[in-house]
Symmetry: C2
Amino acid sequence: MELHGGNIHRIQRNHGLKRADVLDFSSNINPLGVAESVRKALIDNIEGVIHYPDPDYAELRSALGSYNRMDAADIIVGNGSIELLFLAARILVPHKALIVGPTFMEYERAVAQARGHVSYFRLMEEDNFALHADPLYEELRNGYDLLVLCNPNNPTGCFVEPDLMHDIIRRAMNLDIFIILDEAFIEFVEGGLSVSMAPLASSCENLLILRSLTKFFALPGLRLGYGITGSSHFMEKLLAAKEPWTVNSLAECAGRAIVSDSEYSRRTREWLRQEREFIFGELSTCSSLKCYPTQANFVLLQMKGEISAAEVREALIGQGIVIRDASNFTFLDQRFIRIAIKDRQSNARLTRELKRALEG
Amino acid sequence: MELHGGNIHRIQRNHGLKRADVLDFSSNINPLGVAESVRKALIDNIEGVIHYPDPDYAELRSALGSYNRMDAADIIVGNGSIELLFLAARILVPHKALIVGPTFMEYERAVAQARGHVSYFRLMEEDNFALHADPLYEELRNGYDLLVLCNPNNPTGCFVEPDLMHDIIRRAMNLDIFIILDEAFIEFVEGGLSVSMAPLASSCENLLILRSLTKFFALPGLRLGYGITGSSHFMEKLLAAKEPWTVNSLAECAGRAIVSDSEYSRRTREWLRQEREFIFGELSTCSSLKCYPTQANFVLLQMKGEISAAEVREALIGQGIVIRDASNFTFLDQRFIRIAIKDRQSNARLTRELKRALEG
């Protein structure tokens, strides 16, 4: 478990820093912070921790169903979407998985845990890490039983448009390949849930969509994600193998509250539109950097000079700023860092300090 | 996942009851409820849910280390001890496991998930379900690689004294059998942590002790348990296979607060002493019931008449009281029910209604 979200704790310990002294650009969390609706739900439900959570999570699943305009029976909740990723891998026992990358590294770990073999379909730097369909379709013919994609993709920020994603899923389905599609950042994309593949799930026997309440709703501490699948057969297997009560009762209440908080969603989209533009504006003037276009709340940056990701990261820690050294993502190297998009003041400070670190 | 703690939710749904209308004797939770220290920790840390939990849980493990007077390095935290049970089973991949029962049914499920074969060492009704060492030692010679015990045992309430437990562990060790010892209810026993096997862990290569903060500290909703092992080799395997951040940040804060709340522990012990006596006093006058002696915060009851556990349970639900039909524990049958020990008023109501149900 190296270099994940949450490593801010290790950095604080190692550098003797207090949390208030650190500006964390390494985790992709909505800077609007805890919604008032969540704060209220947490306070109102403190006494409820003396009860086990509902093992069926009926009310939470119903709220998530309404949020996605789908049947609660197609939804399973988890301790972050990562629980469902590992659970799905254990059930599928994939022999040969194809992961589209560079991407989030837990996919590989989940397949490896299930003793499956992992291959990568490589997205190319020179294409801005965009996905091209034809070479993917060709590769899919090589006997895979699992395809894993993240959309929009972490850490590249690249988004596969709905028509193309629809086609990819259809092709994989026809080849009897199970698809795990991680939409952890989907709400950040223009169009939000309307560009999700969730409506496909009900007509698709081998598709699992993963969702997170961590990023968009700024709740990583609560550990709450969910999966969507229209396959009642696969859902039964997930439920049978799942450990009970992995979502705690406060996460359950917060989740129910936040998905009906449309005002928080609206403010988030407004913030992101402005700050994405601000960061691109600031950094595009920096000749020693390339900013990859992003549809998410983070930006992949490529440094053109001699300085390494590790060095930039270390220099910024000296200024109380933590960024993500992206060199350990498969296919990336010491030229790559990733930054979250935060509030204006923080973004201004980051872009200033980053330029100083790069240009002296 | 049938008939577990938390099924109160299903009962409420199926019977159209509100939580306030139901007295739950089916979950073994300390009726002292949420400690003031926990309430404060939760409120103080709400804003912190915007951060991922510390993936190392350094401060929580340190607090649990102090509580147990042992090294934090020997402690791993989990989403309830049940996460660690399943994780351990996946790592151990036991071929042949011996479970001492009747007992908590998730042990069998965890071994089955790891595709291991389960045998039971049967505790006898006529012995009050006490464990006899010699037949166990004989059975252990039959090629087992895993032994699972719960002490004090759920649902029997029976406690194996430290000297005997020590001997069992030593014998199993000598036969290269890994031991999972679930001490989820250990703090309820007279002597509390002083009768735990935790001090043995540091000198024992194949012992995993499971602990829960659910029962004694009345926090089942938060999902927080931990494991103790002195084997750095086994600990490394657990950490390598574990999914990250399964304990949420509010559970983390509550756990740190509660284990240093000695006043809550003292009050709990005082309550239990009084109410255990009260319940036994009330029910021992009931000729149609046998109360099994208990060292925990629950009592196994055996009904002598024609009425079945399912019928008693249904009759009590009609009075707004939920008890545990214990008939689906291996080796138990429709004569057995289990009740939690709660506050005086609730206990008085339960014993009155139970006698009425049994004696008309």
